[in-house]
Subunit: 342 residues, 2 copies
């Protein structure tokens, strides 16, 4: 089984699969091609844009979902399409209100599967308290798509006055992860490859806005939030540290990786810190508020395993202190370890 | 050359290409499968949702673009992705403000083509006065996509108090089209099939919000607007008449079809009233305001050929009085005449 793809040493004139994997090549495509072409001042630092609307602040975000297969243990592309966009809104502390839904179907896709996906999507939206208000449906010929792709865009309202962004991160901040990472990626991969593990691993896909809102309601001073999608915990932390101009020291033993995910990762030769989640986030806040944040999170259904995993340092770089007391440097994904996980 | 596909007499358990063509089968997919599953009260009647945001009214819409080929005379998928969404906002009389941009790339797509598309997209957005504020990029394997698909979602602000929707249409209303229909579909089709016509036909792709805002600023009482995309003028009128519970009588000789589009349509065996546009709309308003609306429109760069083409009747059905004085019933597209035109 080969999950990697060759990484060109220099630039490339064609889109590579790794350009979509949340790692270094995707970063390059965005920073060299997409962002310069668009030149939006607000593009890049957070997944959601923050917009003024009269006296209110709105969050606006978009996400396409191309996960294969579309059904996996713990969810499907429909529930994922709601959670992914709701979570992008939640990461700027917004209360999600409205979603758009764009279906891109391949000729021949089973209507029964579409119905099942839409039912999950609706169920997840209802549970999250968001309304699907507008939509679009396109069909492409057989062989020009892959069953179903979904785009959701979302609007939320921001009722706090904090600036949740890498620029707010300070040396000394505590780094907290909201739960055990890596289950989504392993669940999709197991489904894709037909692997069966001793313990069945379900995706962590979940909406995180209530957990974030509970932190804000508790009056905590949040500096930065990031959901762990493509590229996993490692990419999120490396990106935030780099954007913040700070470093992070992590304690490997503090990261609550579940035994089944650890075992599956070892079997597959994957680093669990680089595996995508769809219901986990990291949180940066002042150290003296870490315990309150943990108490708050652990009271939420999807965050019972929340843990403090590290501290922000003034010196750049993300390092992990291993169980053996050694240190390794954490980097973002370089190639295309796990394509089409979301 | 066969542009149609077989239409099943009864239901189907698989997605057909015609399910995406803006005609009867797409209507069925939406009304039988998608809308019941989602159950949103506001879904379906207009492409844009109208949302309350404090004291303001916002419009929110989404559109995916799968046009093939991505480059065509008069534009490309980038300019199209801006105009399509801006126009959906314009059709509820909103002033477009913000766009999201989701790129769905197939492995192997040329970076140079991506750059050209993004440059067009940026140019069109700048010209329209909209800002791209958030984005997403996904990559799928070779053979699982088709070069490039784009989704844009848009937010606009509604500064008028009218209700622009089929329910506002009244018997006696004038029906106006903003320009010559069908150029977009013919331009894409010519590019796709390598056909060369005597006169080169360029797509009508254009942003229509300034034309609509000028009608509102003139104080006109607008009842309903609809941009003519998939399914063309015919589908738009049949849909509006049906949703309004009214009929429409059209004068064929009044419809400003350009001679090159007429010639190309005859050559290809297509009905020009069913061919997609991307820079044309129909407008319903009280008859005594028709001349003012026409004057207003003809002062706008993309609406110089605006014309009154018919009148709303209390009796249902859309009929066309032909040049010979006979009447034919106009229906929406049944099959998949022109797939992937937008």
């Amino acid at each position: 089984m080969d999950f990697s793809c060759p990484i060109p040493v220099t630039g490339t004139d064609r889109v590579l699969l790794a350009h979509g994997s949340g790692g270094r090549l995707m970063h390059q495509l965005l920073s060299r091609t997409v962002l310069p072409a668009l030149g939006g001042a607000g593009l890049g630092q957070t997944d959601s844009a923050v917009l003024s609307c009269g006296a209110q602040r709105l969050a606006f975000t978009t996400d396409s979902f191309v996960v294969t297969p579309p059904f996996f243990p713990g969810g499907n592309i429909g529930s994922l399409a709601v959670c992914g966009t709701v979570n992008d809104l939640a990461m700027v502390g917004a209360k999600p209100l409205y979603l758009s839904l764009a279906l891109l179907l391949e000729e021949g896709f089973a209507i029964a599967e579409l119905e099942e996906i839409l039912a999950s999507l609706r169920g997840e939206a209802d549970a999250a308290g968001v309304t699907i208000v507008t939509g679009d449906t396109k069909v492409v010929e057989r062989g020009k798509g892959d069953g179903i792709f979904i785009n959701t865009s979302g609007i939320g309202v921001i009722e706090h006055t904090q600036t949740l962004a890498p620029a707010s991160v300070r040396a000394g901040d505590a780094v907290i992860v909201s739960g055990d990472p890596g289950r989504h990626g392993i669940a999709v991969l197991a489904q894709r490859t037909g692997l069966a593990f001793e313990t069945s691993i379900e995706s962590d896909v979940a909406c995180l806005h209530r957990a974030v809102l509970s932190l804000l309601e508790a009056g905590l001073e949040l500096h930065c939030l990031r959901d762990l999608t493509r590229g996993g915990l490692a990419s999120a932390l490396v990106e935030i540290a780099s954007d913040a101009g700070q470093g992070i020291a992590l304690q490997e033993t503090a990261i609550p990786i579940s035994p089944p995910v650890r075992a599956a990762s070892e079997l597959l030769g994957l680093d669990p810190l680089q595996i995508a989640c769809e219901g986990r986030f990291v949180l940066f806040l002042p150290t003296d508020q870490a315990d309150s944040a943990l108490a708050c999170l652990r009271a939420q259904p999807h965050c019972r395993d929340a843990a403090r995993i590290g501290t922000v340092l003034a010196a750049p770089g993300v390092t992990v202190e291993t169980a053996l007391g050694t240190r390794r440097v954490l980097d973002m994904l370089s190639g295309s370890q796990l394509p089409r996980i979301c």
